[in-house]
Each structure stands twice: as structure tokens, then as C-alpha cells.
Symmetry: C2
Subunit: 91 residues, 2 copies
Amino acid sequence: MAMPLAKTFSALADPNRQIIIDLLKRGEQSASAIGRQLDITPPTLSHHLDVLKRADLISGRRQGQQIFYSLNFSTVQEISEKIVKFLKIKK
Amino acid sequence: MAMPLAKTFSALADPNRQIIIDLLKRGEQSASAIGRQLDITPPTLSHHLDVLKRADLISGRRQGQQIFYSLNFSTVQEISEKIVKFLKIKK
DNA sequence: TTATTATTTAGATAGTTATCTAATTATCTA
DNA sequence: TAGATAATTAGATAACTATCTAAATAATAA
């Protein structure tokens, strides 16, 4: 996917988006289910989901009226490794 | 130090600051030495160094007219672990 | 078809941030 | 002390972002 690290860090820099990531670790959830745990309006939630999607951190699939969001596990894994590598001190 | 993760991610989200981190992995450098590799004015550099300092990622020590900046290795290590933990999927 | 629910898109706004120029502070040297 | 160099602070500005309300789209149910 070759997502630049800056975009990833920006996506992760918002507290509400961190909570969303945290929620999705337990498994997929509909947008409204996420929203119920976040004290923001649906449009704001939609914006945050969009940022996370564009950073390739999450994906959504529509099922009926709802859209279920889930973590992109492989991307998260990749990012985690990339960050560790970036922060690793060269001796 | 208990630096909130959001602040760390914000600090790391800027390309110029990523370059600074990268440069300092090789060892300490004066502000002007960093600046020569960055195509920004001294005040802008100063701003970025300040952001990184406030995120506890770097420290500066004055030696004569120059201020030498270096990575806070232990903080970087801590942060790296914290990020891995944050991105770790609970089974 | 009409109403209801779920979500997104459009548009506006307030707050934040990256950047610059100009001025200031700190240190060294002649 | 005066001048030069290194870095920061002050102040302005343009771009970006998180948020909201209102409107639009999508899917379901009556």
C-alpha cells in the first residue's frame, strides 16, 4: 500500500480516532455503534472514519442500512513494524 | 514522563520533524547543522525543535553559541513500545 | 409509495499549525 | 565595546482540521 508515515501519524494523532481504533480491536462495529461511544455527531464520526479509511487503517462493508467497520489487521501490523523501524536507533 | 500518545503522534506527523528525528539518530547536531539539511528558515526550524522538545523526543544543550540537539533515547524507546502496544490486536 | 433509520456529503466556522520576515537574546572574538 | 554568528521570540498569514447544522443518499419496512 505504501502509505506515507506522515499520513499514518496524522491519522493516529486524534483522540477520537484513537478510541475508534481501540474499539475496533475487539471486532467490527457499525458506525452508529461506534458513535454511541463517542460524544460526537454522526457527520463528525463520518469524517474520522474517512480519515482512518484514507490512511488504510480501517475498512467498511455495508450490510443493509448499516456500515460495519473493522481494522485492517495487516496494515496495522505493517504500520507497527514501520514505526518501530523508524524509531529504531542505528548504532 | 506520561506523554499522551496524541501529542507524540502529532509531533511525528510532520515530514520535516521526521527528517530531524532521522538525522539525530546518527548523533547530536547543532540547530544550524540540522537547518542546512532542511530547506526551512531558522525560525521554522526552531518551531519544529520546540514541538519535538515538548513531546520529550529531543533535548538541547548549549555549547557556546550553538545548541546541540540529540534524541532522548529512553523516551523514543518508551514511545516505540507504547505504540506497538497500542496497535497490538487483542485476541 | 411514504416513513424511518443509517450514513454520508455540503457548507460554514473556530481553532490549530507551518511558514515567513523582523526583531531580540546569547555567545564569542577582535 | 563593537561586530559577527547562532538561535529564539514576536507577530502575521495561509492552509488545514475538527466540529457543527442542514441536506442528500441508501436501505428497509409499513
